[in-house]
Symmetry: C2
Subunit: 149 residues, 2 copies
DNA sequence: CTTATTTACTATGCATGCATAATATTTTTT
DNA sequence: AAAAAATATTATGCATGCATAGTAAATAAG
């Protein structure tokens, strides 16, 4: 098998995970992003949407659309935040709580399957390398090209 | 720092790489997918597009749209394949060859930066784990949920 | 306290991924 | 050879990501 580049492996793996999650979610007329959001929302009290983005690693603008879709599906309600007139508090509906449990089970199953197939040490290395790549990019240590105008 | 799940790390890392590649490509009015395609196209002879998809890990349908955009940008020409009336052969234009070299340099720079920051052994482990996850998913070892109708 | 800045969204548009469907050809069956 | 199945490609639609721009409210500056 030909040696693949780092970016190829990252892309291929994430795409496979994405596809799997979307297929699982699709069985209940949901999606991957909705599932991730559900998991990040506190099931017991209103969650400020400002807290969700960082937790999920999602930009506010992407999150906003996801929440809109989720509200239309009847999974959440967006209520005004009494402490901040700009913000909203996200509340799960009963249906949302049910779907949250489902989403958690899908993620858990994936994590368990990986944990069975990969040693704890290798998994640690995997996460550490991923983290290093993230840092490299965030530190702008990769960017060198000049802007062509 | 809170322990992150495997899928979180995968997603965050790939999103960061995507953003970086798109920013680099954007400096020359290009995109990440176009760059990957350019790299996969043989600069010297017509490449059947059937060969590109598997090489890049891209579905035929996604590739088709990318190639259309690339043709509109003047990077490639799609010529009928004399050996198969259904297929096309992709040829790089001189501009396409120039952009191909640029794309390769961006990917190379990323690979070098990662190689400097991560030991060869860790990188090997990283790729091996990624491969294992891919296999797990492809073997459908994750899917267990029932379809709700 | 009025003005300027920052913050929290929301709306849109483009890029890119997959799914599905349609079309044209080739290959396989019979 | 004619019919059936497979293959190559395109067109579209939806999901999700980022970028940009606009609005409203809170905070900081003066």
């Amino acid at each position: 098998m030909k040696e693949k580049t780092i970016d190829y492996m990252l892309r291929a793996t994430w795409m496979a995970v994405t596809k799997m999650y979307n297929e699982e979610a699709g069985k209940k007329d949901s999606t991957m992003a909705t599932g991730f959001a559900l998991i990040s929302i506190d099931p017991d009290e209103g969650t400020p949407s400002t807290a969700l983005g960082p937790k999920m690693g999602m930009e506010a603008t992407s999150l906003s659309r996801t929440l809109k879709n989720m509200e239309e599906k009847g999974l959440i309600e967006r209520k005004p935040n009494p402490l901040d007139g700009r913000g909203v508090l996200i509340h799960l509906t009963p249906f949302g709580k049910e779907m949250r449990a489902f989403s958690k089970s899908v993620v858990l199953r994936f994590d368990e399957a990986v944990s069975e197939a990969v040693s704890e040490e290798d998994l640690k290395t995997f996460k550490r390398v991923a983290h290093t790549i993230l840092e490299l990019i965030n530190a702008k240590k990769i960017y060198t090209t000049e802007k062509i105008t």
